[in-house]
């Protein structure tokens, strides 16, 4: 295989530049902040995962013998809140985006490094409020906080949770603001918009959604919290208020939020596929444009969550039609990724396995979204396990697989070490199998009519529920394995060198781990992205035999 230009582990890099806890907690280095986020989001992933485990164990039997119905309501609510607001939304942007965006554009850091650190602290404060809520009575309103249950009748710790999510919203907003300004003003000479990696385009689009949507959910939760504290009446029918208004305001953000969760993951896939197919990506400008299209159209579809809650039929028709439109740019991406694979030289490294899994699972999740967007069909499958399966296919089969795949792809850059290749492939396959076993039965359950958010179910559904729980245990192993071997690799892994795969992004032209200032000399960019046919500096040139990409050999 063509040797990497530099196989050595650098003497000075961002991890050993300064020592001590203060140098980490007061850092303004985007790479260190990314690792701070990595630790925090993993913590909340554990919390959400434990809650999911309890849910699945409880659902092993039809009458649900593990917890009381009230506690069951708290389990699924807290699982949703922890996973959505404190894991999925920050995950790729705050960990991989923070680490990579400056390097990908040839900058020394983000535009506002102190604001970057502030956004992590805001996340922590928000998280503390929510943990306080979880531990002093929990939350039983559903992660959607529908009124008047959340604002009037619930006896659970709604107020601190709402405060925590409100605060956390600003973490998201500041991250998005930082990315947009950085991508506009901090690109290295020669890094034009259409030479940007698609990961950067994806994060730009994500940041647009963060900026435009998060403030609305902030004011909504503020109003709901004020209603609860001061008995105002905006969303309480008994006082003349309108619960549907809450839902409009809530979903105006929360639907685009799902695009915050998936767009970065799509960006990761767009980086992985060309590397392990050894081909330039097919349709670069279409993928870039579709990211922006998803961000924009994604704001026009929110009331498809409200088809059966009382909105007017006229609105329902409008939103149903718009929801079909939003699938188109996503489909464009899937076609382009698949076309990239065609006649490529495929390697089966772990990141590629995750990326391929993403394409299949995201497609299933996305198509089932169209089932739900159909008004007539939604009347039957709304609030059933069909919805749960749909969004877990996208969120877990899509977003989380992209996140884990991205962690694997860039792990050598972040740590300078390689993880054990064979074990990583086993883990990827385990995750894929476990995931499908967990969630495919839920499509069937939903179709057969099992409602969501119920602590019990008719006995004829037990077999499918047991299958789902069995799958969850395999899925758990699929998550735990990388946590173990990635941590192990930091100490015992082989040295990665600058560019182990090799890949064509700018971030691979500096040391692994990178120096604090990212590049010893500001790069001048004069090549096109994903140019796998023409990068002699990486040993990639037309006419040479294409070598498969490799992790450790």
């Amino acid at each position: 295989m063509p040797p990497s230009p530099d196989n050595k582990f650098p003497r000075d890099h961002y991890l050993n530049a300064t020592y001590g806890i203060r140098s980490w907690l007061l850092t303004t280095d985007h790479k260190r902040i990314a690792l701070l986020y990595l630790i925090s989001v993993t913590f909340f992933f554990f919390i959400g995962g434990i809650l999911a485990t309890l849910i699945r164990i409880h659902l092993l039997t039809p009458s649900g013998a593990l917890v009381t119905p009230e506690t069951y309501n708290k389990l699924f609510t807290m699982h949703g809140v922890a996973m959505i607001f404190f894991f999925l939304i920050p995950s790729i942007p705050a960990v991989l985006g923070n680490f990579l965006i400056p390097m990908m554009i040839g900058a020394k850091d983000l535009a506002f490094p102190k604001i970057n650190l502030l956004s992590w602290y805001i996340y922590i404060v928000g998280g503390c409020f929510v943990l306080y809520s979880f531990s002093t009575g929990g939350l039983d309103t559903g992660w959607t906080f529908y009124t008047p249950l959340s604002s009037v009748y619930s006896n659970s710790a709604v107020t601190p949770a709402v405060i925590g999510i409100f605060i956390n919203g600003f973490s998201s907003i500041l991250t998005g603001l930082n990315f947009i300004v950085t991508i506009h003003t901090m690109r290295a000479p020669g890094m034009t918009w259409f030479r940007l990696p698609l990961f950067a385009w994806a994060h730009y689009a994500t940041s647009l959604v963060m900026i435009l949507g998060t403030p609305v959910v902030a004011i909504t939760l503020l109003l709901a919290g004020l209603e609860r504290m001061f008995h105002l009446g905006f969303f309480n029918p008994a006082m003349g208020g309108d619960p549907i208004l809450f839902q409009h305001l809530f979903w105006f953000y929360s639907h685009p939020a799902v695009y915050i969760m998936i767009l970065p993951s799509m960006g990761v896939i767009s980086e992985i596929i060309p590397t392990f197919a050894r081909k330039p990506i097919f349709g670069y400008s279409f993928i870039a444009g579709s990211s922006i299209a998803i961000a924009v159209i994604g704001f026009l579809v929110w009331a498809h969550h409200m088809f059966v809650t009382g909105e007017s039929t006229y609105a329902a028709l409008t939103f149903s039609f718009l929801s079909y439109l939003v699938a188109i740019p996503s489909a464009v991406k899937v076609f382009n990724w698949t076309s990239t694979l065609y006649k490529g030289s495929i390697s089966w490294d772990a990141p590629m396995l995750y990326a391929l899994g993403f394409i299949g699972l995201f497609t299933i999740g996305g198509l089932t979204g169209l089932f739900l967007a159909c008004l007539g069909l939604d009347i039957h499958i709304h609030d059933t396990y069909f919805v749960i399966a749909h969004f877990h296919y996208i969120m877990v089969g899509g977003a989380v697989m992209g996140y884990v795949g991205g962690l694997h792809f860039w792990w050598p850059k972040i740590t300078g070490k390689l993880y054990p290749e064979a074990l990583s492939r086993i883990a990827a396959i385990t995750l894929f199998v476990g995931f499908n076993l967990t969630f495919f039965p839920q499509f069937i359950l939903g179709y057969l009519g099992m409602p969501r958010r119920y602590h019990s179910y008719p006995p004829e559904f037990q077999v499918l529920n047991v299958l789902s729980t069995a799958g969850a245990s395999i899925l758990a192993i699929g998550y735990l394995l990388p946590m173990i071997y990635l941590t192990w690799s930091m100490r015992y892994g082989k040295v990665a060198g600058q560019n182990p795969w090799p890949a064509t992004g700018l971030e691979w032209k500096t040391d692994s781990p990178p120096p604090t200032e990212n590049f010893h000399v500001t790069p001048q960019v004069d090549w096109e992205p994903y140019d796998y046919n023409n990068r002699p500096d990486l040993g990639l040139a037309a006419g040479r035999p294409l070598a498969p990409a490799h992790g450790d050999d």
Binding site: L212, F252, F299, L300, A303, S312, T313, Y314, A315, F319
Partner: protein, 114 residues
């Protein structure tokens, strides 16, 4: 470097323009209050919002230097307005088709007073 050591991207707006805008804003305030005291039926709210928007546009263009800013700034401003409109307009598709007070009841006689 530009005039008097200013950065190239600087746009120095003359105080004369600021004074003209100030007078226009004060005039707009006067007009909108006067219009509110007269009965134009359902057009009252339209006139009030139209004058408010004209005042806002003057502040944005001249006081906030939007007129002298790069196209990117224009895109940012238009996006903010557009997204606000999406929020209001698409939600309206729900509420216009549901009963409101105006469709249920006729306004009372003493509703209008000086």
């Amino acid at each position: 470097m530009g005039r008097r050591g200013a950065l190239v991207s600087e746009h120095v707006v003359s105080p004369k323009i600021y004074v003209v805008v100030l007078l226009a804003l004060l005039l707009g305030t006067f007009l909108t209050v006067e219009a509110a005291l007269r009965d134009f039926g359902p057009w009252n709210i339209v006139i009030a919002l139209a004058i408010a928007s004209a005042k806002a546009i003057l502040v944005i263009l001249f006081f906030m230097h939007a007129r002298y800013s790069p196209k990117r700034t224009h895109l940012v401003i238009v996006s903010a307005a557009f997204w606000l409109i999406i929020l209001l307009a698409l939600t309206a598709t729900d509420y216009v088709k549901r009963p409101s007070e105006q469709s249920r009841l006729a306004p009372p006689a003493a509703f209008y007073r000086v």
